[in-house]
Amino acid sequence: MTLSTTPELTEETRRSLLNTMVLIRTYEEAIRREYYADKMPAFDIGAGLVPGEMHLSAGQEPVAAGICAHLTADDALTATHRPHHVAIAKGVALRPMTAEIFGREDGFGHGRGGHMHLFDPSNHFSCSGIIAEGLPPALGQAFAFKRQGNNRVAVAVTGEGAANQGAFHESLNLSALWKLPVIFVVEDNDWGISVPRSESTSVTSNAVRAAAYGMPGVRVENNSVEAVYAAGGEAVARARSGGGPTLIEVHTLRLWGHFEGDAEGYRPELKSVPDHDPIPRYRDELLQAGWLSTEQFQAMQDRAVEQVEDAIQFAKASPAPNPSEHLNYVFSEGVNS
């Protein structure tokens, strides 16, 4: 399988895309390791240093890397229950993010939020665990940017399962109507937990749904980071220049379970899934074309491990929140009810 590479990309951009993907994967592997470290042999979801549900994004790195390459810290992005890859690609700092995932005081939310509720105001990054409900707030961020008269944009990421939720429809209509600078990114990984796309979605491509709102829609096949990059570039440019919203669906891959601990009995082709891993594929392509050396790749990996392990050390060293402060942060002035 060859990727449709975009001729005008520089070697550097290509390496940078790969680098982002490598950093994400390194992160997800490390979180996975930490997640299971103290839950075995009898898996207990609430036990260990990283408790609760854990939705990792391995395989979906091309979406994050390709879209976020066009964004700055001033742009906004809302993510889902599966937020790490886009957070990292968006430039969210690994230390406070990881501390939050570990439920520590130095986390973004002082341990109140957790892995599905990461808020980085300096990056205008946020996420939510309720399906498709991250879309409407992105509209408001885009609305504020438009009112400010600058060219900042908002990206709303969601899954293909989420595209059947009412909030999806309402958000696309309103953003098209008000010509808001939003990019809707649908990550089609073929599954919504155990439900295959064919049993959730009445059409084969969500891109066709863009026509229902008079907005451009594009489907990127093959989990190709360069094709995502191209589609994202066009959409972001359109939004920045006042051209309104775009819908991008990317056919991507959920390499692991829906959440950690998912036995995936419902996914018969599970064994062949790793063959489609986008990272070795892209790496080999760049190596073959001479755009990447083995040393460069090794350095990428080393740097990624270093950053990730630093963040994990930081998280582990951070204190737990003080239980006596359990009533804080409900309201800004401190009253509760």
Partner: protein, 354 residues
Amino acid sequence: MTTAPTSTNQSVTLPVEPEPGRRKLSTAKAMQEVISQRMTRDESVFVIGEDVGPYGGIFSSTTGLIDQFGPERVMDTPISETAFIGLGIGAAVEGMRPVVELMFADFFGVCMDQIYNHMAKIHFESGGNVKVPMVLMMATGGGYSDGAQHSQCLWGTFAHLPGMKVVVPSNPYDAKGLMAAAIDSDDPVVFMFHKGIMGLGWMAKNSRAIGAVPEEEYVVPIGKSRVAREGTDVTIVTLSLSVHHSLDVAEKLEADGISVEVIDLRSLVPLDRDAIVRSVTKTGRLIVVDEDYQSFGLSGEVIAVVAEHDASLLTSVSRVCVPDVPIPYARELESTVLPTPARIEAAVREAVSR
């Protein structure tokens, strides 16, 4: 998010509850006035919702604003409550101060996730790093045969879920001052106005729906109740339109030598627990009058607050609420389930007879 405030709010501090003066306004006009004043002063305030533009709000909460501020700051939305309430949240997160109207509280079911899982929780989940300074206003209440889906109060439903203030004014003066406080608040505020207190020309209203309101801006602090009438025999804890019914009853019963104290809660969250306890300590009798459904709501909470303080204050306690039945259409039935003056009067007479 908090790094990009666009607020041009020049406010220092507004006077707190000044003398009402002599100028009379309807509650609807008082709301329009204060929203207009805040919009004038603060570029970051804008208004969105269904029919808030040329129509001026189905219950006149926004009349005239579009003429004054134009369609850039007063926008009609599609019938997409989830999308436009979410839009308000996102704009608030970026430093704006949206005033969003949900036409009827009864419609919360199509958009509650944005309200309670997002608007109300983002500040907490972010450990205080992201603020959502937004007002979500909505009409509540029945009494004009609008049926089971357009007559509900539902403030208990909002108040039960943490992270949003829940404000329920009963009169023009409070509506203006509480709306100013709501727009100023860095926290999300649900502002619930009963249709029967708006002073609309096309709906029967209590005469107190029109009252004295200062022209200048001021605040009524959120979380402080008001003694709407002092009395010594019975405490009625109530809010919204039922305050007026209770005052009517209190006036009537004065002739019979029964002295009724009426506490207008003004907000459910925060709940002015001290004021409740103080009044019941004085009168020794408690009646909760609430147009919301009786069980699992405000009325139980008020009684529990007193019980936790001193249960001996509850030797006389009763509730005048909607008895856990959807609001019926037929006038004969609706007036039976609503907390009418007749039911309130009966409850007071019963209380003092014990």
